[in-house]
């Protein structure tokens, strides 16, 4: 099968794009489209034509899914052809030429059952497949089977597939391995099974354990019972052993109690009451005796006390005198000192006064005292003097300093240059700067204008066919692009019309020629009778018949007529011949009706085409005329430009260039205008600046026209001037300030002077009052005033001492008089001693009298208390005697002896009862609930001597025999129970089983996988080998030819060899008969080897199969020119039998193909024009 035509109606960016692949031989067709031209889209469209449009094709960006449409014209080797359309539908996507649904089977007849995957792999190849195919040959180390199988299926990485299968198998399982997944999983499963066995609890084990537990329980119960019995008997015997001594004591006591009889009529506290009364009688008797002897002794002591009452009566007076004695004694001691002090004060006062006012009597001191009292005012006045003096000095200094400063500043100002006005210049500079870098602008504009001009001139020279000056272009009446486009369309339409007419004419002519030659052939093979001929012979016959009639019935002479008719026969013969002729023609027409009909048809066709040719010629002429007309108009519109125009297409380019130049000219003119404006502006600025500079006398000549240097100069000048003006301004300001300060300082000096004068006036008066000179300094005046104040103080102190001495003398006289008066009344014996001693003596006598009086009063109080005690004790004694009497009555006795006998018996009875109760209490503790009488009875049945032996035996039995047995039994039972409890129905084994099942499932899954992968690998390898055995020889033979061609003879062929292990491998044969393994080949050579095998497989298939187009997608992309050529040749060679469609976007391939000059042409189909 081959593709005659691929019609991309609507697909990708293609609209109505047919590719004509019809050629005599299947042919090598190169579909060329640069990048983005739609090469891949066309390739997809081709596959979509065969196998349907992909459900999610990206090629719907221009045409909706529902509008996608691809047409194809196929032809198979039998010569059947099929034209059909493919649209995008799930069902019913095939349409025939008339857009009616087409059965998919019809197409399948052409595809001969080759499905899409197979088509892709077997009949498609691209650059990547080629490279990986070459790589795979290396990886399989030239394995013949794999190489052939790869090429046979179009797989480029068979080795990779086989290796992947083997690897995946090895990852799953390896005999003797432990790491592959399956080995691991199986091992894991086995280990889980073992764990389950370990965790499982056999029923027998549980049963045994349960029996063990039960038997231990029963034995334990029995042993416990036995031990309990033994313990009870032992307890009983021990109790008896403990109770026996107490029981015998109890029996004795009970006997004694019986003997004492009953004393129940006596109160329970009888003995206590009796002894209490006895002790009372004794106690009170003793008390009375003691108190009476004490009273006697006290009365003796009272009599011994002798008190001096007269002194006690004058106690207050004595004490008052004693107090005054202290003062009297102190005055006596102080008086001489005070007298001396007085003398010293007076002397000092006189000295001080003399220092201040020599010669003044101390008694005259009071005259100056008023001034001394005003001392503070004088001191204050003196203090002010120093401040006034300082202010005056400062004021004088300030006036002097400021005057000096003013002189200096004025001198500085005179040295500075005069003030210059500069505002005009400053504003001129500012405007100049604002205008920007005007010089540079003018310069670059000039350069740009020059450049523009020269480009425009160069461009203009290229504006063929026009000749003229650049500036003329602007005024040239160039037609608009629209006009040119219109002419382009018109001319194209017109020439298409001419061409169409020519084609129609040619086709009609061809058809006419064919018909004519057919007619000629028919005519050659015997005359062809026509209906006209029949009519003709019939007419002759009918005419003859009319003559016969006339001759026969009308008896007319028809000989002449016959002659006229050119018949030189007799009428009957002539008529018979006429009839025969008519019949013959008629028969002939009947027997050769088909031929006649065809001839007639052909003749009619010939006439039709004759007419058509005539019409076509006329239309052709018209079309040609129209074209000429248009071309004339075309030239006409260019007359204004004085140009003979080229084609509209070319002139469109011309106009575009022309417009470009015009734009350049206009730009240049704009720039020139701009430049002139700038020059004018610069001149204005120069003048402005020059004027200003001249005004201030600083003008300067500069060489260039540029304005920048002047501006720079002006700016420097401005800076200098500003600095000078600022300096002047500062100094002037300083002078003003200093003058103001001087004025102020003089005012302050005046004020200070007047204050000083005023002070002197005030100072004079007090100085004279004190007796000092008027000009006494304040310092001296202070000292004098201090001395006068001290003098006055000393005089005051002298006065105080004199008064004190007078007071002391007066006190002494009064004291002596009071002492004398007292002593004469109370103690005349001491009236002759000095009053001071008398007072001391009286005081001591008073103290003695007081002590004696206090002692006597205490004794009297104690006598009275003792008398009260005696009375109370006598009362108590009487009451005790009464109680004794009562007791005797109760005890039914008459005297004290009987009473004491009864008391002794009573005490003995109470004592016995208490002891008995203690014994019984002890016994009750021992008896532990057994009644005492029962215990007593049991004790009588027991031999006290044998008892300890029996107890010892039983204790040993308990300790050595019963206890250990029970201990062991309960341990056994506990252990049995623990073990049994551990058998708790745990789900651990079951859980492990669950895990084991999971592991088993994994093993199962992996085993399933492994078996499939393994068999897949085996089958594939086996098939590879089988394919090699069956196809190796014929395919290698063809491949050798291709390989040699593709390698440009570097290899002369291919051969199957064996490697060291005996495996068949592919080797290349060099022209010198040595061989190269695939490892020794370059990678490019291996790619060619893969291609050779692919092409050989295709060619080999042709022997048995319908060819299919071989689609190569840019496989030459990395080949050098020589190899690309060799490959093109190889493809062209295959293309003699099998259509080859090579898609490429490399123009070089096209050039190479064109240059090849092959026997059969290579067809180039550009895709590019669709992009316009």
């Amino acid at each position: 099968m081959r593709i005659k035509r691929l019609d991309i109606k609507a697909y990708g960016h293609f609209t109505d794009f047919p590719i004509d692949l019809s050629s005599e031989l299947p042919g090598l067709h190169i579909i060329f489209g640069p990048n983005e031209a739609g090469k891949s889209t066309a390739l997809r469209a081709l596959k979509a034509l065969f196998y349907g449009i992909d459900a999610r094709t990206p090629d719907n960006f221009l045409h909706d899914y529902s509008k996608l449409l691809i047409g194809g014209h196929l032809e198979n080797s039998k010569g059947d052809s099929l034209f059909f359309w493919r649209r995008k539908r799930k069902i019913g996507d095939l349409l025939d030429a008339d857009m009616a649904l087409l059965d998919a089977g019809t197409l399948n007849d052409f595809l001969t059952g080759v499905g899409e995957p197979l088509f892709d792999s077997l009949f498609g190849i691209n650059h990547e497949t080629l490279i990986s195919g070459g790589q795979d040959i290396l990886e399989q180390k030239g394995d013949v089977g794999q190489a052939l199988f790869s090429a046979g299926t179009g797989i480029s990485s068979l080795h990779g597939i086989i290796e992947a299968l083997d690897r995946e198998c090895a990852e799953l399982f390896k005999a003797g391995g432990s790491k592959p997944e399956l080995n691991k999983a199986a091992k894991h499963f086995q280990s889980l099974k073992k764990e389950i066995r370990d965790l499982s609890l056999p029923g027998s084990k549980w049963k045994k354990q349960e029996e063990l537990f039960k038997s231990a329980s029963v034995q334990l119960i029995n042993a416990d019972q036995e031990r309990n019995n033994c313990r009870a008997e032992l307890e009983r015997l021990k109790r008896l052993q403990r109770a026996m001594p107490h029981l015998s004591i109890r029996r004795d006591m009970l006997e004694k109690l019986n003997a004492l009889g009953s004393l129940d009529h006596l109160p329970g506290n009888f003995p206590e009451s009796l002894s209490e009364i006895h002790s009372d009688i004794e106690k009170f008797g003793k008390k009375i005796n003691d108190a009476e002897s004490q009273k006697e002794s006290l009365e003796e002591k009272i009599a011994d006390c002798d008190v001096r009452q007269e002194i006690l009566d004058q106690a207050e007076t004595v004490e008052a005198l004693h107090q005054r004695l202290g003062t009297r004694l102190q005055a006596k001691k102080d008086k001489p000192g005070v007298h001396d002090q007085m003398i010293r004060y007076r002397t000092k006062a006189a000295t001080l006064l003399n220092q201040v006012v020599p010669g003044l009597e101390i008694s005259l001191i009071n005259e100056i005292k008023p001034f001394i009292d005003k001392r503070q005012d004088i001191l204050k006045l003196g203090n002010r003097y120093a401040g006034l003096k300082k202010s005056l000095k400062q004021a004088e200094k300030q006036v002097k300093d400021l005057t000096g400063s003013l002189m200096k500043t004025k001198a500085d100002l005179e040295t500075l240059p005069a003030y210059i006005e500069m505002s005009g210049l400053a504003s001129a500079v500012k405007s100049a700067r604002k205008a920007g870098d005007i010089d540079q602008h003018i310069l670059s504009l000039g350069l740009e204008i020059k450049k523009q001009r020269s480009s425009a001139e160069t461009e203009t020279k290229q504006l063929v066919p026009w000749k003229g000056q650049v500036d003329d272009l602007l005024s040239l009446p160039v037609p608009s692009l629209d006009t040119v486009n219109r002419f382009a369309d018109n001319i194209r339409d017109a020439s298409d019309g001419v061409q169409d007419e020519e084609e129609t004419l040619q086709q009609a002519q061809e058809k006419l020629d064919r018909i004519k030659s057919e007619l000629r052939e028919m005519e050659k093979s015997g005359s062809v009778l026509t209906v006209e001929a029949l009519d003709h012979v019939r007419d002759s016959r009918d005419q003859l018949w009319k003559i016969v009639r006339r001759d026969w019935l009308g008896k007319e002479d028809v000989a002449g007529e016959l002659k006229n008719l050119g018949l030189n026969k007799e009428l009957p013969e002539a008529y018979e011949e006429g009839v025969r002729n008519a019949d013959d023609v008629s028969d002939h027409l009947r027997t050769e009706a088909e031929r006649v009909h065809k001839y007639a048809h052909l003749t009619a066709e010939a006439e039709k085409f004759d007419k058509q040719i005539q019409r076509s010629q006329e239309s052709g002429d018209k079309a040609a005329n129209r074209l000429t007309q248009i071309e004339k108009s075309w030239k006409e519109i260019w007359r204004g430009c004085n140009i003979t125009p080229l084609s509209p297409g070319e002139m469109r380019g011309w106009i575009e260039r022309c417009q470009e130049i015009r734009r350049m000219i206009r730009e240049r003119m704009d720039m020139m205008e701009q430049k002139q404006y700038l020059v004018d502006q610069r001149q204005g600025l120069l003048e402005l600046l020059g004027g200003e500079l001249k005004d201030i006398g600083k003008d300067k000549k500069l060489q260039s026209d540029d304005v920048d240097p002047i501006i720079t100069y002006a700016e420097q000048l401005l800076e200098e001037l500003k600095e000078n003006n600022d300096q002047r301004h500062l100094l002037e300001k300083d002078i003003g300030r200093i003058q103001r300060d001087i004025k102020q300082a003089r005012k302050e000096l005046e004020t200070s002077k007047s204050a000083m004068d005023s002070w002197h006036k005030h100072w004079k008066e007090p100085m004279e009052g004190i007796g000092l000179a008027e000009d006494t300094t304040p310092e001296y005046a202070v000292e004098a005033l201090e001395n006068l104040r001290d003098c006055l103080e000393q005089l005051e102190k002298t006065e105080e001492s004199k008064q004190r001495i007078d007071a002391m003398d007066k006190f002494k006289d009064e004291f002596s008089r009071d002492v004398q008066a007292l002593v004469e009344s109370v103690a005349p014996e001491i009236k002759d001693i000095p009053p001071e001693q008398v007072v001391v003596k009286l005081q001591s006598m008073l103290k003695e009298a007081r002590t004696l009086a206090t002692k006597r009063d205490g004794f009297i109080e104690r006598v009275e208390a003792t008398e009260e005690d005696i009375r109370l004790a006598k009362l108590e004694l009487d009451r005790a005697m009464g109680k004794i009497y009562e007791l005797k009555k109760t005890a039914r006795c008459e005297n004290d002896e009987q009473l004491y006998e009864i008391e002794r018996n009573f005490r003995e009875l109470v004592d016995l009862k208490e002891k008995l109760s203690q014994v019984e209490e002890t016994l009750a503790g021992i008896a532990e609930g057994v009644p005492l009488e029962e215990l007593d009875k049991q004790s009588l049945d027991v031999d006290p001597n044998g008892l300890p032996g029996t107890i010892d035996t039983m204790e040993r039995q308990l300790k050595d025999e019963l206890d250990p047995r029970i201990q062991k039994l309960s341990e056994d039972k506990g252990e049995a129970r623990t073990i049994l409890q551990q058998m708790d129905g745990s789900g651990k084994a079951a859980e492990k089983e669950e895990e084991a099942q999971q592991a088993l499932t994994k093993v199962r899954r992996l085993a399933d996988n492994y078996v499939r992968l393994r068999i897949a690998a085996l089958v594939l390898k086996r098939e590879v080998d089988r394919y090699r055995q069956e196809n190796q020889d014929p395919i290698l033979k063809i491949a050798a030819r291709y390989f040699s061609a593709l390698t440009l003879g570097a290899f002369s062929g291919l051969r199957a060899d064996t490697d060291d292990s005996g495996k068949p491998i592919l080797v290349g044969v060099c022209p010198d008969d040595c061989v190269k393994t695939v490892e020794e080949m370059s990678s490019g050579t291996r790619d060619q080897l893969y291609l050779a095998l692919r092409l050989a497989t295709l060619e080999w298939r042709l022997e048995k199969h319908e060819p299919m187009p071989f689609i190569a997608d840019d496989i030459l992309v990395n080949f050098d020119d020589a190899r690309a050529e060799a490959t093109l040749r190889a493809l062209a060679s295959l293309a003699e039998k099998n259509q080859v469609i090579l898609f490429t976007h490399h123009r070089q391939i096209i050039e190479s193909a064109k240059a090849l000059k092959l026997k059969n042409p290579v067809f180039i189909h550009p895709l590019s024009n669709i992009t316009n």
Binding site: L122, G203, G987
Partner: protein, 420 residues
């Protein structure tokens, strides 16, 4: 009025089969499923205060030897005893061969029927007579029902029997009998065991297979549990199926027709998983997917089936909820056009496929073709070579499946991977 529970085929501690969970799966969710299901039944009995519980055989699972299983059952029965609930048990084929049945001493509320002859136990306070007979050995081929006594007058009569009736798919024909045999006894209720699918065989009298209480593999799909029977005036007034299972098995056929690519396949699988999750009603669901239909994704699925299985697992894992676990993915999809018809007979691939169709290999031949295969088979655990669903590549059914998979695998790899 009283109620009782009819359960059967507990197969206590029998594991879940054919399930392979990823290491990070929360195994707690599905661990010890049969135990938890049994506990659910005990809780139900106590909560609903049923009068008694019937267990119609196959309490244990065949060869399982761990006595802990029996002890666990014992603990459950003690709970029922404490609640005053009696239990009637017959041994089924699995129990008969299990030594647990003989060794274990059950509490006194449990009655196990004799295997020598039919026995009748009456419950006097509610006038119930339970008739039953245990299996004496694994394979009982006699019709046990024939010897069952006729109904006891004035009582509600229950027949407890482990049987396959006249045959049920996937179950051995043990203790065969007919519905008529059972009806002839005049009982009000026949509590049957052995068949794992729940089935109400007859309504008057009631003849019911309660089905097993927990599905354990992909052949035991859907809700599982016990039957709650209400009796009023010696007549069955209500029969309810109560779901007890803690996880559920589901088999979903997914038609991938119209799926143009793997994204759409994954979407469809996700929808199926979501449905499975909803059907599980709060339980984890174990799902087997059978992908079928003609789809352009066919080649992708076959070329990388383990990869896609993992993808599906990931989809399931992302669902959340109680969880959906993928047991297996079976690929039964077809290429749009059958590769064999696409590939001309004498292209290498065509020849390969045609030879593959005739590839008949038994173990010996396989050994010749591939010595490692013998080692491989011998290394596999005996457990997968035996059991219910043995792994045996030489089995014709499995062999056909293998060859079909190999074909898909090779075509997918040769045609899709081979080109790039």
């Amino acid at each position: 009025m009283f109620r009782f529970i009819h359960a059967a085929d507990i197969h206590l501690d029998s594991p879940l089969k054919g399930l392979e969970l990823p290491e990070d799966a929360p195994l707690e969710e599905i661990r010890a499923a049969s135990r938890r299901t049994l506990e659910n039944m005990v809780d139900l009995a106590i909560r609903e205060e049923v009068a008694f519980v019937l267990i119609a055989g196959d309490l244990y699972d065949g060869e399982w030897r761990d006595f802990n299983t029996g002890l666990f059952f014992n603990q459950c029965m003690v709970k029922l005893r404490d609640a005053g609930i009696r239990v009637f048990v017959i041994s089924g084929n699995h129990d008969a061969s299990n030594q647990m049945t003989r060794t274990l001493q059950l509490p006194d509320n449990v009655h196990i029927f004799s295997s020598r002859k039919p026995e009748t136990v009456t419950i006097d306070n509610i006038n119930v007579a339970v008739h039953g007979q245990s299996f004496a050995n694994r394979a009982v081929s006699d019709n046990l029902s024939l010897n069952y006594p006729t109904a006891k007058g004035g009582h509600f009569n229950i027949g407890l029997l482990h049987t396959a009736l006249s045959g049920r798919k996937g179950h051995e024909l043990y203790a065969p009998c007919t519905v008529d045999d059972l009806r002839a006894k005049g009982y009000q209720y026949w509590a049957l065991g052995h068949v794992h699918n729940r089935e109400e065989v007859h309504h008057d009298p009631w003849i019911v297979f309660s089905g097993n209480i927990q599905g354990r593999h992909i052949r035991e799909t859907g809700a599982k549990g016990c039957t709650m029977v209400t009796v009023d005036g010696n007549r069955v007034s209500d029969v309810d199926h109560i779901e007890l299972d803690v996880l559920r098995w589901s088999l979903y056929e997914v038609d991938l027709k119209d799926c143009l690519n793997m994204d759409e396949v994954c979407d469809r699988v996700q929808k199926v998983f979501e449905k499975a999750l909803a059907d599980g009603d709060g339980r984890p669901v174990i799902v087997r997917l059978e992908l079928k239909g003609t789809t352009p994704a066919h080649q992708k699925l076959h070329a990388q089936s383990p990869y896609w299985t993992e993808e599906f697992r990931a989809i399931a894992a992302n669902l959340g909820g109680a969880g959906v676990w993928l047991e297996k993915v079976k690929l039964r999809t077809r290429e749009h056009t059958d590769p064999e018809s696409l590939i001309q007979g004498d292209t290498p691939i065509g020849m390969l496929l045609s030879n593959l169709k005739h590839l008949a290999i038994d173990v010996e031949e396989l050994a010749v073709l591939d010595p490692e295969m013998t080692t491989f088979l011998s290394k596999l655990p005996a457990e997968i070579r035996g059991g219910d669903d043995p792994f045996d590549p030489t089995d014709p059914g499995q062999w056909d499946e293998i060859i079909s998979d190999v074909k898909d695998l090779l075509v997918a790899r040769l045609l899709s991977k081979g080109q790039s």
